[in-house]
């Protein structure tokens, strides 16, 4: 969790000399005869908040599933800070620095809020099975380290007071926040948020926007976000790609894209 410049030194550069954290070239995936994602290209700059929008069934979540290794793309490649992650397993992709949240919340319901975050920290704090099983000193040292860092994150997200609640007992909006906190715990370079505001009321959405802005500043992280809530998209995303039936309909600066007649047509109809 630092502005470690070394991390970004292999990033490819775009025309203006910006470092590209995520670069996806011609990603395609086909299920049977259906092209769920067809020729998706993304260039996301370091520290950017990029939006991926589009009507239902446009292939947004499928794109996320490719980027996190749940699906292997039929063709095309993608790179995180210059490192080719195409077709890698979810575990390796996560360890390389991509973390995500899920459209339908997937928390570990039988763990507490604190423990959910601690699971995310697992890849950074080493303690072998034998050390834990025999309760060697290393176990106790790492456990307090786990606790300290998890509490730090929960405080950032305003969840500290719920640390000992079971995740399933949190109210909906807080569950969504916890998912983000858990993803942040894996110390990602790129955070993928799948409809973080789905089902939230305007107050909760506002609160979420504040949290997203805060973690961008605090952790210097790059974010790719799927969202339907146009107020949120217009409010925080810098650039957008619009997907429709798996293909790119438009891309560019948020304001330009949202005023594009093609995009309006796809969303509202003729």
């Amino acid at each position: 969790m630092s502005f470690d410049e070394k991390l970004y030194e292999n990033c490819p550069l775009d025309a203006e000399g910006n470092q590209l954290v995520l670069k996806a070239d011609h990603l395609c995936i086909q299920f049977g005869g259906l092209k769920a994602v067809d020729d998706l290209n993304l260039s996301i700059k370091k520290g950017e908040l990029y939006g991926l929008i589009g009507p239902n069934g446009a292939g947004k979540t499928t794109a996320f599933n490719i980027l996190t290794g749940v699906y292997k793309p039929t063709s095309g490649r993608f790179f995180l800070c210059g490192k080719d992650l195409t077709g890698k397993a979810p575990l390796e992709i996560n360890r390389s620095g991509i973390a995500r949240t899920f459209q339908n919340i997937r928390l570990f319901n039988n763990l507490t809020v604190l423990e959910n975050v601690m699971v995310g920290l697992g890849n950074q704090i080493e303690c072998s099975m034998l050390q834990s099983m025999l309760r060697l000193p290393r176990h106790f040292k790492t456990e307090s380290e786990f606790r300290r860092r998890a509490m730090e994150l929960l405080e950032v997200f305003g969840l500290a007071e719920f640390a000992d609640y079971l995740a399933q007992n949190l109210p909906y909006g807080k569950q969504r926040k916890l998912e983000i906190a858990r993803a942040m715990a894996t110390n990602p370079t790129l955070l993928l948020l799948d409809e973080p505001a789905a089902g939230m009321n305007p107050n909760e959405t506002q609160e979420l926007m504040d949290v997203i802005s805060f973690i961008r500043q605090h952790f210097g992280i790059t974010i790719l976000l799927i969202e339907h809530d146009m107020r949120l998209v217009a409010g925080i995303c810098e650039r957008l790609t619009v997907l429709n039936f798996g293909t790119e309909l438009a891309k560019g600066k948020t304001a330009d894209v949202l005023n594009d007649p093609e995009v309006i047509k796809a969303y509202i109809g003729e």
């Binding site: 299920f31 979540t61 599933n65 749940v70 699906y71 899920f102």
Partner: protein
């Protein structure tokens, strides 16, 4: 020549496995659960046959009808009482319940009929001599009836309204429900058909060895599950192919003395091998988990 008679034995054994495997595969496809107690329905059927051919009415044809009826009622009851409350529960819970039902049927049979094997002779068959080749009549009957039943089932599932409802529920239960299909009713019908097939299989099991005991169904049940997996679970033609392959392999293994005592181990080794190499089986579809 003995190879041909082994082959025919294998085919008829395979037809029995296929009948049982169909019950597994249909329930798995539609209710998304492994009905561990399916094999024990065969055992129940065999005891019904025992009671009505050896004790009371003594008419084998009527006994077969009653066995089918009894098994269908049993299958439906089990689904409504034990499995339906667990719809939507973790699959681990459903599986443990199914194991419980299997134990329940076996122990009730043991309490009523004791563990002593019971003789059930329904028909007297003569063997057919053909070019110096001896073929058991019951093998031929098993094969022919098994094929008729399977063809009828395939036609039913693909052509009838209920059959198509079953296909729809197996594809997507939620969507099927929204299209006005009564999911619970469809699942009950699936259990009824599976149990009826198990009852038919119990008749054939008694052709092969005319005795029954409370564990009659356990091993053939598990082997038939292996057949269903081999063919690709959820696939009806897959269950048939898997059953036939398993039947033939097993009969050939039994033929050679050094393999005979390992025949069960061989069947299970096939299962593990298939699951490791191609978990979706010969005809099964690979499913993507929705994220």
């Amino acid at each position: 020549m003995s190879i041909i008679s082994t082959l025919i034995n294998g085919l008829s054994m395979g037809a029995v496995y296929a009948l049982i495997a169909l019950g597994y595969t249909m329930v798995y496809g539609i209710a998304k659960m492994l009905n561990f107690a399916h094999g024990d329905v065969i055992m129940v059927g065999s005891y019904v046959l025992f009671v009505f051919t050896m004790k009371s009415i003594k008419n084998p044809f009527l006994a077969i009808l009653l066995a089918i009826l009894f098994c269908v009622i049993l299958g439906v009851l089990v689904e409504c009482i034990a499995y339906r409350p667990l719809r939507g529960a973790p699959s681990l819970a459903v599986l443990i319940t199914a194991i419980g039902v299997s134990f329940l049927l076996q122990s009730v049979a043991q309490l009523i009929f004791t563990v002593t094997p019971k003789q059930v002779t329904m028909f007297q068959f003569n063997s057919i001599e053909f070019n110096g080749l001896t073929i058991k009549t019951e093998s031929i009957i098993t094969l022919v009836v098994g094929m008729i039943v399977m063809i009828a089932l395939t036609v039913f599932v693909n052509k009838s309204k209920t059959g198509r409802a079953m296909l729809a529920v197996s594809e997507d239960r939620g969507a099927a429900q929204l299209m006005g299909i009564n999911v619970n009713r469809t699942i009950v019908i699936t259990f009824a058909i599976g149990s009826a097939l198990a009852a038919v299989a119990s008749v054939f099991m008694l052709f092969i060895a005319p005795v029954t005991d409370p564990t009659l169904g356990a091993m053939p049940g598990i082997k038939a599950f292996v057949a269903a997996v081999l063919g690709g679970i959820g696939s009806i033609p897959g269950a048939m192919i898997g059953g036939v392959i398993l039947g033939i392999v097993e009969q050939f293994a039994l033929k050679y003395e050094f393999l005979a005592s390992y025949s069960d181990a061989i069947v299970f080794a096939i299962l593990i091998l298939v699951l490791l190499v191609k978990p979706s089986g010969i005809l099964g579809k690979k499913r993507h988990e929705k994220v």
